[in-house]
Symmetry: C2
Subunit: 267 residues, 2 copies
């Protein structure tokens, strides 16, 4: 004969089990069990992703546009534990185009600048999302011909162009090097007219080659559209061509014609 | 009688179709068809997500810790189209703890500061991933008791604490208000010892309440662990409690005891 009767413990155990379930379900205030499942699933998902930092560190030897002396000392302690203060607390000074940075539409266009097309106006939907890292023909600028040969399909919104600047490690040389590869005006015009690219990443300090008329035209082709964002000074050392998710988050500097930015890739 | 014979066009049409497929498959240099499918799927995925900016704009009236006068003028044009230059180009000056920002382990600990635990050392895996936004009891600090009542489950790595600071719109008041809600030392100790939280977001300028001994202890409980990151001065106006994905990307300021940061949520 089987004994189904373990009373009085069976009822108490059942009650305890129910109470335990109820407490798991409601214990942590606003968090529901569904939320918890979601967050744990997402956590496992994120732990499997490889993250690549495509931003350069700010150091005194970081090159600066058209300068021999680089960034220089840009940060200093204002209060210091060593000097008896409660905490370390620094001030820093950068240009809106230092190191890895974005350009705002008002950078090359006074009308847009005065209309408020600053770095705050840039769309987060453009700055975050899937991205294509492409190799460009070495020791060539990004001309219309090169753009045609890359044949980037319609629908691709974000592209990082890896050039010989990366091989030449130009972002690690303090002195500005005007022989960098970048967009020519016809390359930029091609991009604006024949592709859906809205985020244009490059691996040296400017999206445009250095002669002044070209510098102006390239920026105008891209920035006057108000929805194309050049991301310059990227660190593409570890970004093998392929598809990633990019997150590029510049500071919300009101009136900023650009801003330093941290950019990362998830694989 | 059905005419199956449309020759000689049928063969030509077939050839054209095959050529078209081949060209789609191989046309755009390094991009494979698989890559293209992946990027388009991901693009549709991102277009459906709502993004919430949880960073405050940098404006002169942004409050600054322990100051009556706020941030002040922090940006100015160095070259200006209006004054005849080719482009607008600005310099800006901020503290490492201006507006929405992160603290580095070296902020309150000289040993860690000298060992290089600066803002560059912060883990991107902590700064990006699933996050819980929680409501805290209004007009209370985040004490051990409050932390216990929130009962945030183990495994949750990122939590943003919405307090009465958000209701009181403290980040929109130029003059620093020391009556803000934040962590007490026992609340911070509880978090460090009894939860898996590594990213701690708060909605005013400090993760700690203002009395000096508490300010010190809270920061020590969190920062001496070297893997807990306080994110301060968040804009939680539009962040309803729940589960999101956070991306928080501070600048790579070498020797920075902290850094301004842009932070966003995806829903």
């Amino acid at each position: 004969m089987t004994n189904h009767n373990t009373s009085p413990y069976s009822h108490l155990l059942l009650l305890a089990a129910v109470l335990a379930l109820v407490s798991v379900a409601s214990a942590f205030g606003p968090t529901s069990r569904l939320d918890l499942q979601k967050i744990m699933r997402e956590e496992r998902n994120y732990m499997q992703k490889k993250v690549i930092d495509i931003s350069h560190k700010y150091v005194p030897d970081l090159p600066a546009y058209d300068s021999k002396s680089g960034l220089g000392n840009f940060i200093k302690l204002k209060t210091s534990i060593k000097l008896g203060d409660l905490y370390n607390f620094s001030v820093f000074k950068l240009t809106t185009h230092s190191g890895t940075h974005v350009d705002a539409p008002g950078h090359f266009n006074e009308t847009l600048f005065e209309l408020g097309y600053d770095v705050v106006s840039l769309h987060l939907q453009t700055l975050n999302g899937p991205v294509l890292v492409v190799d460009t023909p070495r020791n060539k600028n990004i001309t219309a011909e090169v753009m045609r040969s890359l044949n980037i399909p319609r629908g691709v919104k974000r592209v990082l162009f890896q050039t010989s600047n990366t091989d030449r490690r130009l972002m690690y040389k303090k002195e500005f090097d005007s022989s960098y590869s970048a967009f020519t005006s016809d390359g930029a015009e091609y991009l604006a007219q024949n592709t859906d690219i809205k985020l244009v990443g490059v691996d040296y300090l400017s999206v445009a080659i250095s002669p002044k008329d070209e510098l102006l035209k390239v920026h105008q082709h891209l920035l006057n559209s108000k929805d194309i964002i050049p991301v310059e000074g990227l660190n593409l050392d570890d970004a093998v061509p392929g598809v990633y998710t990019i997150h590029c988050l510049p500071l919300r500097l009101v009136h900023g014609d650009g801003s330093p930015t941290r950019c990362i890739l998830f694989q």
